[in-house]
Symmetry: C2
Subunit: 407 residues, 2 copies
């Protein structure tokens, strides 16, 4: 029987303590016993990363990025060594590696480096020796052998990139939930675990608020067509497969519903409606380091228009200051703002061919007396900004209307 | 003015918490401001190494050495990154490196590797850029890029080896005591800090119980004639210089007094006095992995002799079992043992030329009614095994008799 390579990634909560590390070790052994070649990527134990960061911030308000990477990368090195020790204790040969040791080369953008090449020679050698290979996630090295990290959620990226390089059959992402749900089960108890979802939908859901996987890793998986399996490390149940569109996935108009309450809305009134004005506004905000999210500008029938946009709550004050400054400079009117908003989005690749989805969404909100502040659409998603206190009500109503539940 | 290279090593207690790391950073800056090139070697924060080891032992009673090195080396990586961040926060450029990054190549004897070569290119480049270089102690890498550790006290070795490679002017060992004392000040309050001591004396003292520095690092420093300065990280006071004999060191008969209470004595009675018997006994013990310390065999006037030796308390039971086995095999008599012993030693290079030192030691013990069980001598030391309850009394009396105190 031919051996397939399987890549498994275990998140921080899956290896938060000794018992959980032992649980992961048993889990890994089960997969190995099915006669696969196995590469396991681990995140840092539980809160290690936060603890290390807190220590650094006590020493400096602005620690050098290179030194932070040197520090932060130890979390994953600890957990991969411990997992290897746990597997060896169960009687199977395992060997742990840092990102650098398995040839993960990155650029030198410390704290958010990009993987450039992976030389999988050492992994292949270890697999040929029938060893289970454990790799520290979230890290690589530059050409100068400086340690880099890949940013939050970077262990997902390590797993997907290794799966690509090794031509793995599947990349399993083990986490503390059972898969991707039609919406947040804490809001809608009838939310259903999605069996299969396509990359584009998953990408849209991740960027619209679903927090299970890092968006960048999904992009990479999509680009190289690496099937992802998001599942729970605490249950044997199958999770959610994330695959390419052309595979046999039932096409539905709406796959899932996401929300994001951590946004605020800013409106500049009476903006002179002439070319280059929008560019000026958003250049100013970009200079202030503010990531603008949704932008809406209505067709104007006069020489003045209103421009609205949303920003993450965390940068709201900074954004207001920058907006007032540029508003004054371009001769616009008042700046209005509202922190009490939420974005509710429906996502589904079937929207491309099904018509009337948007109308159905607006109608559902109207039936529930929920006012829509802003609307924005992509090819496979529709988002509405509403008052945040109606978020759960809106999600429940939409989930029911689009028939996403179990019942 | 020509710049000298200074290597400083800070032990775990010197970097045990954020405040102490900041203290070390300030200390380092003071040296740097004297216009030196500075390379700083750090141990792991306080109890990190013990904590990591405890986690591993919860997972396995016999974790693979390679994986242990992967785990344990993170302690020093964390402390060197944090110290670098602390120095940068004080406004000076610093850069941290793992053992592997500064080219410390070792053999592959994991957990007690030996340094083979150091390629100091990267350190020299960083020094040329006027950066303070921080190196993770206790570690290196094999030719396969596997991480190795150098055994307990290995950070001392890293410091001495770097001092040798960089042709440093001095290697300063910062610790939580003010230097090397004539004897343990907790036993003899009048104990005096030694200003200068020669390598051979320090080596003898380290192997006879003084725990300030790892013996292997002193050997390396001796071999390459690298002056060591053992001093406190909590005080500006000069510590103890460890230097070569031919430098201007006052020759005294007795430089210091050490003791070791963690030994036990075993005697095999009525051993047939014929060639090869001693060899059989100690080969058997070596096979059982027992490190025998002092060995004494008296001239025999009959065909039977007694052989006594000491072993560390930790392996006493194992040693008794092995001894009884071989004693039976060679047709010897009873096996006697005594765990309640201590070894008291006087050390001094002046012994080579001064006569009567041994007699004075035995006389002092006799005056204090302390019985001597065994005697062993080297060129520059004399050790007596006595009942452990007289240890402090013996040390106090000897310290006074040889005039080592402050008063």
């Amino acid at each position: 029987m031919e051996k397939y390579i399987v890549v498994q990634k275990f998140g921080g909560s899956s290896v938060a303590n000794i018992e959980r590390i032992q649980n992961v070790a048993r889990r890994v052994m089960e997969t190995k016993n099915k006669n696969n070649h196995l590469v396991v990527v681990v995140s840092a134990l539980g809160d290690t990363t936060d603890d290390l960061e807190a220590m650094a911030l006590k020493l400096s308000s602005n620690p050098p990025d290179r030194e932070m990477d040197m520090l932060m990368s130890t979390g994953e090195q600890i957990s991969c060594a411990l997992l290897s020790i746990a597997i060896n204790a169960l009687g199977h040969k395992a060997i742990s590696f840092t990102g650098g040791q398995v040839g993960i080369r990155t650029d030198n953008t410390h704290t958010k480096a990009r993987i450039e090449t992976i030389d999988a020679k050492r992994i292949k050698k270890a697999l040929d020796e029938n060893k289970i290979v454990i790799v520290a996630g979230y890290q690589g090295v530059t050409d100068d052998d400086d340690i880099t990290t890949l940013g939050r959620g970077g262990s997902d990226l390590t797993a997907v990139a290794l799966a690509k390089t090794l031509n793995a059959r599947v990349c399993e992402i083990f986490t503390d939930v059972k898969g991707i749900y039609t919406t947040d089960p804490r809001i809608v108890p009838e939310a259903k675990k999605i069996e299969t979802i396509i990359f584009d939908e998953m990408l849209e859901m991740a960027s619209l608020g679903a927090q299970v996987m890092q968006a960048r890793s999904i992009e990479v998986a999509k680009r190289f067509n690496i099937p992802l399996h998001v599942r729970s490390s605490f249950s044997k149940e199958e999770g959610t497969m994330i695959v390419k569109e052309n595979e046999k996935v039932e096409e539905v108009a709406v796959r899932g519903i996401t929300c994001n309450k951590a946004e605020a809305k800013i409106t500049i009134c009476a903006v002179p409606d002439k070319p280059g004005v929008a560019s000026k506004i958003f250049t100013e905000l970009a200079k202030a380091g503010i990531n603008v999210d949704m932008i809406v500008q209505n067709v104007s029938h006069t020489k003045l228009t209103d421009i609205s946009f949303t920003v993450p709550d965390a940068v709201f004050n900074k954004a207001i200051t920058a907006t007032k400054k540029i508003s004054h400079k371009i001769g616009a009117g008042e700046v209005l703002s509202d922190e009490n908003i939420a974005r509710v989005s429906i996502v589904g690749s079937g929207m491309r061919s099904h018509s009337g989805i948007a109308a159905k969404m607006f109608q559902t909100l109207a039936e529930n007396k929920i006012n829509i502040d802003m609307i924005s659409t992509s090819e496979i998603s529709i988002s509405c900004i509403i008052n945040y206190k109606f978020t759960d009500k809106a999600i429940k109503a939409l989930h029911k209307k689009f028939n996403l539940g179990n019942s």
